[in-house]
């Protein structure tokens, strides 16, 4: 019998309601609480914190659907946007560089601060 078959067998047995005396049920519940409390005390502080966060978000199963998937999509999206933006910036730089390298005016016209100031002054004076 493999693990899955064994599991379903156990599940079936457990699902068949076993009549229990009220005090036996109470003792089982108390024992379960105790076991859980002991288990919770074990994880390292970081894990515990993560567990608490998870708990408040609906446990692992709730977490996977409600948080992990959107988070993964968001991250992938952000990386995509960043890559796209980088590409756009580079494309724009290439465009302007090509224009500068072929422009009627020499590079110095765009590099010379004096000329830029002179143009501004003249532009101001003419208008």
């Amino acid at each position: 019998m493999n693990e899955d078959q064994f599991g379903s067998q156990v599940q079936r047995l457990l699902n068949e309601a076993i009549p229990l005396a009220p005090n036996a049920a109470e003792r089982l519940r108390a024992a379960r609480e105790q076991a859980l409390a002991r288990q919770r005390a074990e994880p390292a502080p970081g894990l515990q914190w993560a567990d608490n966060v998870l708990g408040s978000l609906g446990g692992w199963s709730g977490m996977s659907l409600r948080v992990l998937l959107p988070f993964a999509l968001l991250t992938a999206g952000l990386i995509g946007i960043y890559a796209w933006q980088q590409k756009q910036t580079l494309a724009e730089i290439e465009e302007i560089d090509a224009l500068l390298l072929t422009d009627e005016l020499p590079l110095d016209a765009y590099l010379d601060r004096g000329f830029q100031d002179w143009l501004k002054k003249r532009g101001g004076g003419e208008q």
């Binding site: 992938a76 890559a83 730089i93 090509a98 390298l101 003249r122």
Partner: protein, 130 residues
């Protein structure tokens, strides 16, 4: 379906998507060594050959793009590119950024104003020489 398995599968899918996105970004830029350029690109960019490996990869990519535009340029423009290439490559990033900024601003001016710029540049140089 087992919830835990579903959760693991989803987590795996998410990580795979993230790794894929990151990988796509890494894979895309080639190293752009001189040897990786096409013969046509090498011919256009010949003035930069000696310094090529020292250029940052984004600059090399930009130059590669400019070399690809080169065949479509008019002859006069091609001559200008050849003449200006080395100077442009040797400027500091700040100087290039300033020149681009000035270009963007001046390119916005009207066509008539842009036509006058050439004359104004000559005037300015004459004044400076005086």
């Amino acid at each position: 379906m087992n919830r835990r398995a579903a959760c693991r599968a989803l987590l795996g899918l998410g990580l795979w998507a993230m790794a894929g996105a990151a990988g796509a970004q890494k894979r895309q830029p080639r190293r752009y060594t001189w040897a990786e350029l096409t013969a046509a690109q090498q011919e256009v960019l010949a003035p930069l050959k000696s310094d090529w490996e020292n250029l940052p990869i984004e600059r090399r990519r930009t130059w590669g793009g400019i070399a690809n535009r080169y065949p479509k340029m008019a002859q006069l423009e091609q001559e200008r590119v050849q003449k200006r290439m080395q100077r442009w490559a040797n400027l500091t990033p700040e100087q290039r950024a300033r020149a681009r900024e000035n270009y963007r601003r001046m390119a916005k001016a009207s066509a008539e104003k842009r036509r006058r710029l050439r004359q104004q540049w000559a005037e300015y140089q004459a004044q400076k020489a005086r």
